[in-house]
Symmetry: C2
Subunit: 162 residues, 2 copies
Amino acid sequence: MTLSKRIPILLLRLLALGAAVSATVVMFTSHDSAEVFNMKFEAKYTNSPTFKYFILMNAIASVYTLILIFFPSKSSYGHFILVSDLIMALLLDSSISACVAIGDVGKNGNSHAGWLPICGQVPKFCDHVRGALIAGFVAAVAYFIILLYSLHNVMNLFALNT
Amino acid sequence: MTLSKRIPILLLRLLALGAAVSATVVMFTSHDSAEVFNMKFEAKYTNSPTFKYFILMNAIASVYTLILIFFPSKSSYGHFILVSDLIMALLLDSSISACVAIGDVGKNGNSHAGWLPICGQVPKFCDHVRGALIAGFVAAVAYFIILLYSLHNVMNLFALNT
């Protein structure tokens, strides 16, 4: 791959790295507490397996992206990197979707199931989750564009060579 | 693409079609009701935006797959189909992840947020959701393998031509 084709990928990976690290840190530090009927109610990421999954996936994305930025990119690894980028995009997509679903119940509740919204009691926690979701979304979009760009390059090279 | 390379993709698309249609139908027909404290409680897919999203995505996947099975595959559309397969895999992945997150709250509840599990009251509904999730998962895996196989073919052709 020529240098002019590597620079956009590098920039996208830097964006993904910043976003995934932010998502991990913001979700990890999300914390708020409230007193309801004299019972102290503490909201933090460990309260839900979905938030733990979100942190794990964004931490994996951060480490993976960091390694790839410093990885000496050999074209012989192209196939492997394309597949691992695809897996990374799917994992980020999955973690955000799961968190949005739980975040929606936290914000709006679900009257049919009798689940009350909690964001009124712990607004700081919900703000953090929202911030983390936005950062995670940016990382996922960066990976989606990396995939599109890589596919485009591969297909164009293929078209040129046939 | 030669016929021998097209057959595995066709078989995977048939699998994805069957799975996505099953997921749509099973989720759409999920229904159960219970009486709690003389209040009738009805569980169906319309109770949650996540379940509606799941049905929409699986219906889109069904129609998309059906079109591609009958689509006269010209290699000039290869790039476009690879990208739309990628988007389909991401959408299916997203809909399953969101549903698993909500399904987990439905099954186990979340004591921190005060959300009680509902599967004890409406077991038939939860069984349907579980079945739909398994079918949706099969469709998503089929699309993941289609992507891997297409990428493998593209990269191999590229390697042969350089």
